[in-house]
């Protein structure tokens, strides 16, 4: 079935936020910090004020002092007293054109007094480390308490460290290793952009590159002391999200600038700004300890992750422990200790990215599983076979899923893999990796169904189409359940004023959420009065945990003279229930795997000195079409899904296991264990050299 938005996108007629212009609109640009950590001594805006086209110039003194944030409210509109990362907004210019605003912003002179900076969690947690925030406990929503390590935002633990330590001390086999992962950007094509039109406290309109409009209006309202219900987030087309477009971005600032100047304000980031000042994935330092008995059965495990949250913690994933970076969802672990520390550093603030925490944690855990197999002396697949959960068992965090299909998925993957010949002179290796995640639907969305002439249906949804094909899936589900031909259903995105709620696109639950609201809609449709529009909503605060397994097998070749890595094939075995749209489903499998390949082998913000290296997407490398390996998909059907539609998650399933599958395959081929991402040719080359 073709996509709802295919023709518009293919012909370039989709209108993105950057394409909109309002009457009397002015443009904002910001001066950004060039220092990782410094006290602001003075800001000279006089030259900027004299530049052509400039309407007004703002510093922290001119805008609200109330910060914004999600769980933790710590992010200022403009840096106040000091800057905490390279790229932080220091001052804003409003001018008649974008060029004039950017030109004037470059004329702003800031005098800084440099301060010692911290760039990694280890540095930030070291005794005597410089404080990124002087009183982190004082922010609204802060989890940190006075007396905690100064840069600790949140420490989430699960289980007893003492009990695990004791069990590990007497285990027959133990592995204990340290893994590190780099910062990576979501890599959406459309940079963040915002238009804000403040008319009065009763009427504010915002066009924002966001997939979570209802959440954004709450945060903007709180920051600017405006009733969130008076803030209308307009429907938009999103040019990619991958988790990066859930924060309010520059909406609080643009709304404040509109309030101060009386004009609609537009701000579109240059991609260099998006790379240095948006909300990329957390770099992580993860310690994994696993103990097993003589047969390789896990007796205890510990995962401790220090996550680099950057200079502000407002949009680091706010879920309580166990965080995705320290989860062991697939294996039987009698004693489990997990600890996730989110830590302030003088680097770009972090946010969500496809399966937050899991790509980092799964790289560490699944690498450690292979390291354990080696010391136990059994095949990596056999180790997993002996430890995968079966239906009825609780996972390491005591969560019961409705069923576990890890073993079936593992066997399906092993049966489907066909060895591939490496190029002559190259080393060959194979690596396996397992990942599973629950979908709890916790549906929270709404729809309006309006019968229109000629037996057609107009369906309004507040859910933003992020580019995944979600509106197409919605149309298909409605067509199936209401008995319409899909082409007779029109899907229309609407504003936050038009419908009561939506939780935003995320957590692999869009299709599940739609399934729940479509069930409600189908019942309401049967019982409606003739030709009347109906509005339906769901707002669940709990749900069953339906788990979904992915088993990946990577086949790789390594050139021993250069360390060059070729992925010969990446096999994805996925545990599936009903599939609504096979093409969109496959796109999530392959797209997710490609994102994993980039994380595993290539992408790197490389901000060791606090400065993101790349200035554009030409320099910041994502896998291109030429870099994508051959994929093979094995679907393991028959799983229990959610709702009448019987659906499960897929969007975040194939990204997390890739790095370990490749690291394990590299080990299989070279006997070199790479514990630091990305796995580059040079790292393999150095490791091979170290063996000699």
């Amino acid at each position: 079935m073709s996509r709802v938005d295919a023709a518009l996108k293919a012909s370039g007629r989709s209108r993105y936020v950057a394409d909109f212009t309002l009457a009397n609109m002015a443009y904002a640009a910001v001066a950004r910090s060039e220092m990782a950590h410094a006290r602001i001594v003075s800001i000279d805006t006089s030259a900027a004020r004299g530049c052509p086209g400039v309407i007004a110039v703002f510093t922290a003194a001119d805008v609200t002092a109330t910060p914004y944030g999600r769980a933790l409210v710590d992010t200022p509109l403009l840096a106040r007293d000091k800057v905490r990362f390279v790229g932080e907004r220091v001052a804003a210019v409003v001018a008649a054109t974008r060029h004039e605003a950017e030109y004037a912003a470059a004329m702003i002179e800031v005098e800084y007094e440099p301060l010692d900076a911290v760039f990694t969690p280890s540095e930030a947690l070291a005794p005597g480390a410089p404080a990124v925030h002087e009183q982190p406990w004082a922010y609204q929503g802060a989890a940190a308490k006075e007396g905690d390590p100064i840069n600790l935002i949140h420490r989430g633990t699960h289980g007893s460290k003492e009990a695990v330590d004791a069990a590990l001390a007497s285990a027959a086999f133990v592995v204990d290793h340290h893994y590190t992962t780099q910062g990576v950007h979501q890599g959406y094509l459309e940079p963040q952009a915002c238009i804000a039109e403040y008319i009065s406290d009763e009427e504010v309109r915002i066009w924002l590159t966001t997939k979570a409009p209802y959440r954004v209006r709450e945060m903007v309202g709180k920051c600017l002391d405006i009733d969130p219900k008076k803030i209308e987030l307009e429907p938009i087309t999103l040019g990619g999200d991958f988790g990066g477009k859930g924060s309010p971005q520059d909406a609080p600032l643009c709304t404040e600038l509109s309030r101060k100047t009386g004009r609609p304000i537009k701000m579109t980031l240059r991609y260099s700004e998006d790379l240095t000042a948006a909300n990329p994935r957390h770099p992580a330092e993860i310690d994994v300890r696993i103990g097993a008995d003589e047969q390789g059965r896990i007796v205890a495990a510990s995962m401790v992750a220090n996550l680099n949250a950057g200079a502000y913690g407002a949009f680091t994933p706010s879920v309580p422990a166990p965080h995705g970076a320290v989860e062991i969802p697939s294996y039987r672990v009698p004693l489990f200790y997990s600890e996730a520390n989110r830590v302030y550093t003088n680097t770009v603030p972090r946010g969500n990215m496809r399966a937050p925490g899991a790509p980092q944690g799964t790289f560490a855990l699944e690498s450690a599983m292979d390291e354990l197999a080696l010391v136990v002396g059994i095949e990596p697949a056999e180790l997993r076979r002996r430890n995968l959960l079966v239906t009825g068992e609780a996972d390491a965090s005591h969560v019961h899923w409705i069923e576990h299909r890890g073993l079936e998925t593992l066997e399906a993957a092993l049966n489907a893999v066909v060895p591939i010949e490496p190029p002559e002179g190259w080393l060959y290796g194979r690596g396996i990796s397992v990942y599973s995640r629950p979908t709890t639907s916790m549906a929270s969305t709404s729809l309006r169904l309006t019968p229109v002439d000629d037996g057609c249906l107009r369906v309004e949804t507040p859910l933003v189409e992020t580019g995944t094909g979600s509106h197409t899936v919605l149309r298909q589900m409605l067509a199936d359940q209401l008995g319409f031909a899909p082409q007779n259903i029109e899907i229309v995105g609407v504003s936050t004023n038009d419908l009561p709620r939506d939780a935003g696109a995320g957590a692999s639950r869009v299709t599940a959420g739609f399934a729940a609201v479509v069930d409600v809609a189908a019942k309401a449709w049967m019982n409606r009065s003739r030709d009347e529009a109906i509005v339906v909503e769901v707002n669940e605060d709990s749900g069953v945990d339906v788990g979904s397994y992915t088993v990946q097998i990577a086949q790789v070749a390594v050139d021993p003279s250069t360390g060059q890595l070729k992925i010969l094939e990446l096999l994805n075995a996925v545990d599936v229930a009903a599939i609504i749209n096979p093409l969109a489903f496959q796109m999530q499998i392959d797209g997710g795997a490609t994102m994993g390949v980039g994380f595993a082998t290539l992408e790197n913000l490389d901000e060791a000195d606090g400065q993101v290296w790349a200035a554009n997407m030409g320099e910041y490398k994502l896998p291109s079409a030429r870099d994508v390996p051959r994929y093979k998909t094995v679907k393991v059907p028959g799983a229990i899904g959610l709702g009448t539609a019987n659906v499960k998650n897929i969007g975040e399933s194939t990204t997390p296991p890739v790095a370990a599958a490749i690291a394990n395959a590299v080990f299989d081929s070279t006997k070199c264990r790479i514990r630091d991402l990305p796995i580059t040719a040079e790292k393999i080359y150095q490791a091979l050299k170290g063996q000699q």
């Binding site: 291109s624 030429r626 040079e682």
Partner: protein, 280 residues
């Protein structure tokens, strides 16, 4: 910013006499530098309307003349370049993507002087010469004397490269390797271009080895090439040439690799590229 499109070399030179003015071939590099505000010229002079700057033909039976505004797409598809200089066609086909190749020019590739690009080492190894025209006359500069430093060339700001001439050598063996262990859509970590001729006994008569991405300009590994001349290269000799090329390189750390890794890769890929040439 003023933009002009002169239709003759004289007209273009007149425009270039203005302050802070840049000549534009395909504009693929200049557009990026403008966007990133690395340059802020007052004037751009577009060269694509100057007919005498285009075209690819046989100057003599021993020389191929390539007009400065010839695009990489033209280099890919020109029967003459494919027959006489297949390495140049191949290297052109590996640059960027179709949109870039359809406008990027050979003149731009050398005048831009970016050592990471593919055409500078390829043209260096082929022994190409740039023809430069300026207010004070014209001259021929071999590419071995053309690249003066990072993005710095022998052509003055008020001068134009009008054409590149490349010797056509019967029986010449060539091979270009672009080593991209990260993304294939990236500049090479190391580029190695080799042109050599052998006599009927397999003895190397002439050889030029050029390296990209490992110094502030594309460079010739002259000593490495000299080791091969007069010999039927053994594995030991090839290894010595690789080592010599690596010692002569002056790479720096960046996203594509550390200084030491790049140096080691110059060794590996020089050896492999020599072997590829010898294998025909």
């Amino acid at each position: 910013m003023l933009i002009s499109s002169p239709t003759s070399v004289e007209g273009a030179l007149e425009e270039l006499g203005n302050e802070n003015t840049l000549a534009v071939g395909g504009g693929t590099s200049i557009a990026l530098m403008l966007k990133n505000r690395l340059i802020e010229p007052d004037r751009l002079v577009l060269l694509n309307k100057v007919p005498t700057l285009s075209g690819i033909d046989e100057r003599t039976s021993a020389t191929v003349r390539i007009g400065a505004t010839s695009t990489l797409l033209e280099l890919m598809h020109s029967p003459l370049v494919n027959a006489a200089l297949p390495m140049l066609s191949f290297a052109s086909s590996r640059v960027g993507n179709p949109r870039v190749r359809s406008v990027a020019t050979i003149g731009g590739a050398i005048i831009h002087g970016d050592p990471r690009q593919d055409l500078p080492p390829v043209l260096l190894s082929l022994g190409a010469t740039a023809h430069i025209v300026g207010p004070s006359g014209e001259r021929d500069v071999p590419l071995s004397e053309f690249f003066l430093g990072f993005m710095e060339s022998a052509a003055g700001e008020d001068e134009l490269v009008t054409e590149v001439t490349v010797p056509r050598v019967a029986g010449q063996r060539t091979h270009y390797t672009r080593f991209t262990p990260g993304s294939e859509d990236d500049y090479p970590t190391v580029g190695v271009a080799i042109a050599m001729t052998l006599d009927s006994e397999g003895t190397v008569r002439d050889a030029r080895i050029a390296l990209g991405g490992v110094d502030s300009t594309a460079i010739l590994a002259t000593e490495a090439a000299a080791l091969l001349v007069g010999h039927r290269p053994s594995d030991e000799l090839i290894a010595a040439a690789g080592q010599s090329a690596a010692e002569g390189a002056n790479p720096s750390d960046d996203q594509r690799g550390s200084e030491s890794y790049k140096r080691a890769m110059v060794d590996v890929w020089t050896r492999r590229t020599i072997s590829a040439c010898l294998a025909g």
